[in-house]
Symmetry: C2
């Protein structure tokens, strides 16, 4: 229990200019546009008559919460909607259960910062739960609502084949599967599939029957090959910065060959198939959210840069050391500014909102 | 809920030579000597037949857990005893509930360190709960066992009268109530009484009926005035170091006058009366534990110094700044070595083990 075997890639901590807390505007806009949809899902799909009438505590888990302000906003939305749902069914205010919120992230997440930013006014009991959400985190049948936002696209580890020189999936000269041979994509896809299965298996045990789960995950539209996506183009751009630096002798080519970003962009079709294969959840909704991208390419590039740095700096620093970080992202910024990939206001992927119910 | 209004005095963080984690030998020996007694209390007093037979999760709270290794040892003892109790009543291993442990401390506690030191082998689900245990931390009737070790002698705030120049309880020239006029002692005692009431009120709501609570708290034997106790002598010794430094101009006298240590040594009689006044708990046991003190005065003095520094450095640094810390404890060490107060192997207080049951 409370296994922490998965690799942890914490977001940038603290309050500095590149911290996740200061660079998660992108996610925040996603959370806001999702608010109404999640509230509607709770109003329509949450079956509170199915819960024991003696229920004293309604338990909500936020998986991969990080430590920025977004996690509190999302949880607040969910609680408001659950309270409304109770009241709409004739429950007196005094009989609405108390709320307990389980904030989960890797044990290397900055929980101190998360806890220090709590307000005493929060109308729920706060709990921090360290550990990988690819394994069990909570006791059996103890959770009523699970929320996970911008977290499940992180795979639990880089597939070992892609750094194995003797494997056909060896990903030489690249840091991602975008533009890589098919074997590399397949290795990433297999890892994602395994991760989703272990995620759903664990949640199936932890959630009560009838419990709801909302997942927000960046994805590619169906039938869009990664090599033709803006997401892929951004990954290639970042990869080319690594290669430039290797050519200049600022890092070794071996070091680049042995590094791969643990990010995977699924598609609605792929994700739905994985959920069906698991069999413990029904898909109550799956739709693309509106992206807060603009037609201003320079703005989009800047947003992308700050987001990439806040989220990717951790794994990059761990592999290459701190010295190369500024230079790398400086190069990425320069290449981004000259690139045409941010002109397209469709953004570089879709954000999928998935609503699941525990059978 | 999750109020964090009390003052927080976290133990020294990190892994350095003065960290709480490296200087809690004293507490650890207390925990070990208590092991058998707590296990006996669980065997004799825990009424598992009173719990619902469908209970899936047995919930244990460790209040004021800090982040050292002791907290895990104490919890492990409790779980082993509860499992034994279940088995002794004929419960099959597979029907013993899962365990969830709520590690609580102030939100300024080093939860990151606590979480990083978790082992994946721990046979329970881990949860961190930030906030003052003088208020509500958990939902109603959600906790089966509460443990609190060496935490309740910290009062939630210094009584305001003792820093009020116009009050008869103004504690001029001292940093503690030891050797102070009676008004100062009374102000401390009233604060402790208020704290115990709010502690018990909160636990009464959070614990299930029949739930057990074990408290370990340093105290003075009945009828022992603080001014005649070794505890008082140690506090006076520390106070004299502050005054020496003020006289040398290393800090202002005003600064010393406005500082008071938020520590209170109760007595078995006083504590029992407070528990009875609260009325929600029956006292199932109250006894002094064997102290791990030796006849080696130099050893005792050293142990006391490292313990004092690990636990008191936080509030002292907050008031006086970091600069004075080394000098202060250097002086304290020198005075300790010359003092006769550590010759007495009875130690400077007793450790009370209190066993309570929620009515």
């Amino acid at each position: 229990m409370a296994k922490q075997t998965s690799e942890a890639f914490p977001m940038n901590g603290g309050n500095g200019p590149y911290s996740y807390a200061h660079n998660s505007t992108y996610q925040k806009e996603g959370v806001d546009s999702t608010k109404a949809k999640i509230q509607a899902a709770i109003a329509e799909k949450l079956d509170i008559k199915h819960l024991p009438s003696s229920l004293k505590t309604f338990t909500i888990a936020d998986l991969g919460c990080s430590f920025g302000p977004n996690t509190f906003i999302a949880v607040q939305n969910i609680i408001e909607a659950v309270v409304l749902k109770y009241k709409s069914q004739g429950t007196f205010s005094s009989d609405v259960p108390e709320f307990q919120v389980l904030f989960n992230d890797h044990s290397s997440n900055d929980f101190n910062k998360l806890f220090e930013s709590l307000s005493p006014e929060m109308p729920y009991y706060v709990v921090g739960v360290p550990g990988s959400f690819h394994g069990r985190l909570f006791p059996k049948a103890s959770v009523h609502f699970v929320h996970s936002s911008y977290a499940l696209h992180w795979i639990s580890r880089v597939p070992p084949q892609v750094v194995d020189k003797s494997s056909p999936a060896w990903n030489q000269g690249r840091v991602h599967y975008a533009s890589a041979p098919n074997e590399v994509l397949e290795a990433y896809s297999a890892q994602f599939s395994k991760d989703i299965q272990s995620f759903l298996d664990a949640r199936a045990q932890e959630m009560v029957s009838g419990g709801l789960m909302t997942i927000i995950i960046p994805a590619l539209p169906n039938e869009t090959p990664v090599s033709q996506s803006t997401f892929g183009a951004v990954m290639d751009l970042l990869g080319s910065c690594f290669l430039d630096m290797a050519k200049m002798g600022l890092m070794s080519e071996d070091k680049v060959d042995s590094f791969n970003l643990p990010l995977y962009a699924t598609s609605p079709k792929e994700l739905e198939a994985l959920i069906e294969r698991n069999g413990c959840f029904s898909v109550e909704g799956m739709e693309a959210l509106n992206r807060p991208m603009t037609h201003d390419a320079a703005y989009n590039a800047k947003l992308c840069l700050s987001h990439m740095r806040a989220t990717l700096e951790g794994p990059i620093r761990e592999h290459f050391g701190t010295e190369i970080i500024d230079e790398l992202f400086h190069r990425f910024a320069e290449k981004s500014a000259m690139s045409s990939i941010f002109i397209n206001s469709d953004g570089w992927a879709i954000d999928l909102l998935v609503i699941l119910k525990r059978n």
